[in-house]
């Protein structure tokens, strides 16, 4: 077993022993259970004594699915931020790192191991929870998500971006501050993305630019738009396009390759800076 895998396993074990994993699973089960109940009741909904049309039912399902996945990604973001934030800063602050870094291990191995441990936690959470949620929507309403694999993959990428940011912040700030700032930036990015969407719907380039800059600075909301696009059926979008302008849970355009490349470069850059900070940290 390499040193990297030792630290990756240690990170997963810590999340389990500190009950973060169980808290995330508990919250996810609660959200999935409640949303499945809602999805199952959706086909029976009547508006003015008239049952919902299939198109309207699908529209409501797509909107609800987007909202629930956002709630799940927010729970995941909170969990990942508060697991990632103390993983380096906390060990430096408490002194746990003193005896570990005195071993013949490279700091890059410690960092990469911890990062991989966090990534595996985030990906497992998103795949299980996102997959279950999409399955719940399909089972309850018959709505077919057009690109479920893309949706889950982009949701996982969003989680990885956020945990990498939290890891970087943990080398700059105290563990508590790093967690708070990471979640705060996640929320701010979502709001700024929303402002950009409103700018697009109003054809106001200066307001729309807020979203563009936001997506470049922190790709969480940009990737989230990709998730939305992967969840929405094209036929549904064209039928209701006039009613969906500026709606944050619908996205007409998918992510470009250039944006995916930028997101990957952003991720590599952040992990690189984290390594630089961690390798220079003195204890």
């Amino acid at each position: 077993m390499t040193n990297i895998s030792v630290f990756a396993r240690l990170t997963v074990l810590e999340a389990a022993r500190r009950k973060v994993l169980w808290a995330l699973i508990g919250l996810a089960v609660l959200i999935i259970g409640l949303s499945f109940w809602g999805f199952a009741r959706l086909p029976a909904v009547h508006v003015f004594a008239t049952p919902l049309s299939a198109a309207n039912s699908h529209l409501a399902t797509a909107q609800l699915l987007g909202f629930v996945l956002f709630a799940l990604s927010f729970v995941g973001a909170l969990g990942m931020s508060f697991v990632a934030a103390p993983t380096i800063g906390g060990e430096l602050e408490s002194g746990v790192a003193l005896s570990l870094l005195a071993r013949p291990v490279r700091r890059s191995e410690v960092l990469l191991g911890k990062w991989l441990g966090l990534v595996s936690l985030a990906v497992a959470y998103v795949v299980i929870v996102g997959g279950a949620e999409i399955a719940a929507a399909e089972t309850g309403t018959g709505y077919q998500v057009p690109n479920p694999v893309t949706a889950v993959a982009l949701l996982a990428a969003q989680a990885v971006v956020l945990l990498s940011l939290a890891l970087l912040l943990s080398t700059l700030l105290s563990p508590m501050a790093a967690g708070v700032v990471a979640v705060g930036l996640f929320g701010t990015a979502w709001v700024a993305g929303l402002v950009g969407d409103i700018g697009h719907s109003l054809n106001d380039p200066s307001v729309a630019a807020v979203g563009t800059v936001d997506h470049l600075l922190l790709p969480t909301d940009g990737l989230w738009n990709g998730v939305m696009n992967a969840l929405d059926q094209t036929s549904l979008m064209s039928s209701f396009s006039d009613r969906l302008v500026g709606n944050p849970f619908f996205q007409t355009s998918g992510l470009t390759t250039a944006y995916l490349v930028w997101s990957a470069a952003w991720l590599i850059g952040v992990v690189g800076v984290t390594h630089l900070r961690f390798s220079r940290a003195e204890l």
Binding site: S99, P104, V105
Partner: protein, 325 residues
């Protein structure tokens, strides 16, 4: 700066040939480190031979822990060079055969005692086939065998320090760096640490003991290095500190007038009714008494003794304080 060398003390390290360097367990030359405007280390040079047990002494903030952290690679010096077991300090190769007990000993509270030791055994690295036996050995050595399943969070501070010792002793390191190893231990624990150091000495392990417990240093170390204000103040064999025979003479009246009659016996000091004659061979005691009586003093008592490490250290630090004022 090699510091004030005592009788028989190690000389200022010179670079010498590569063969000479690789033979030293620790070799540092002109190490300096500052935190902001405060100098933690100033041109510290030090050489520790394999198998030596060296005590690192000095007041709080003298730079002892910084020096140890530089050797382990946790802190980078601003200037100077350090080699540990022949490899540049900070490189993984230099940490391959080191056991380190930090002053601030903290271990993952969510792991059990055996899991912490097992983790360090992997990182040490102890070969997989020997790992279980090695973990059991060090846990027994640190008297933690019956606590191996307990979570670290449930251990007292003293037991956590024992855990730190177990971790440091893993894989029988060639160099053991102990930073205040008994700060949280009870008298039995302190005796255990002394016994462990004796065992290490017998096995040829080099030990650098950073401790404020001077009695421990007195009992365990071959050599003492004193740091003050970030610089080496003294460096020499423990014997050079402790083998100073001295004589205290109590007189009936003021002692100061009789200092001059004892000039030929060395630097005699007077305090109230007592004269102190340092570094005096016991065979000369009758001559001292005869000189005093000859000068008209009435001698009430003569007490031969030794300068303790504490007295010597305090004297040295006071003198250095005076020089810096």
């Amino acid at each position: 700066m090699g510091g004030r060398a005592l009788a028989g003390a190690a000389s200022v390290p010179s670079r010498g040939g590569p063969g000479t360097l690789s033979r030293d367990a620790v070799w540092c030359s002109r190490l300096s480190k500052s935190y902001g405007h405060r100098a933690a280390l100033r041109l510290v040079s030090l050489r520790i031979s394999p198998g030596e047990v060296v005590g690192l002494l000095g007041p709080n903030g003298a730079g002892k822990s910084t020096l140890v952290k530089i050797l382990v690679g946790l802190v980078r010096p601003d200037s100077g060079e350090a080699l540990v077991l022949g490899a540049p300090a900070g490189r993984p190769e230099a940490r391959r055969d080191i056991g380190y007990l930090p002053e601030l000993f903290r271990y993952q509270p969510w792991l059990s005692v055996a899991e912490v030791v097992g983790l360090h055994a992997r990182l040490r690295p102890v070969p997989a086939a020997d790992r279980h036996g090695e973990v059991s050995r060090v846990l027994a050595q640190a008297r933690l065998a019956d606590r191996s399943g307990e979570r670290v969070s449930n251990l007292s501070k003293g037991l956590q320090q024992r855990l730190g010792l177990a971790v440091a002793l893993l894989g029988k390191p060639r160099l053991l760096l102990l930073d205040e190893p008994t700060s949280a231990l009870d008298p039995t624990g302190r005796a255990d640490v002394r016994a462990l150091i004796d065992e290490c000495r017998a096995e040829g392990t080099t030990v650098l003991l950073n401790s404020h417990m001077l009695s421990e240093v007195e009992r365990s170390c071959d050599r003492v290095v004193v740091l003050d204000r970030g610089a080496v103040l003294a460096d020499g064999p423990l014997g050079a500190w402790l083998d100073h025979d001295m004589l205290r003479v109590r007189l009936e009246g003021e002692a100061a007038p009789f200092v001059s009659c004892l000039k030929r016996f060395g630097e005699v000091s007077a305090h109230a009714r007592e004269l102190t004659v340092p570094s005096l061979a016991m065979s000369l005691v009758p001559d001292v008494v005869a000189a005093l009586v000859g000068a008209g003093a009435r001698v009430l008592g003569v007490e031969p003794g030794q300068v303790s490490l504490e007295e010597k250290l305090l004297e040295l630090l006071a003198r250095n304080d005076g020089e810096h004022r």
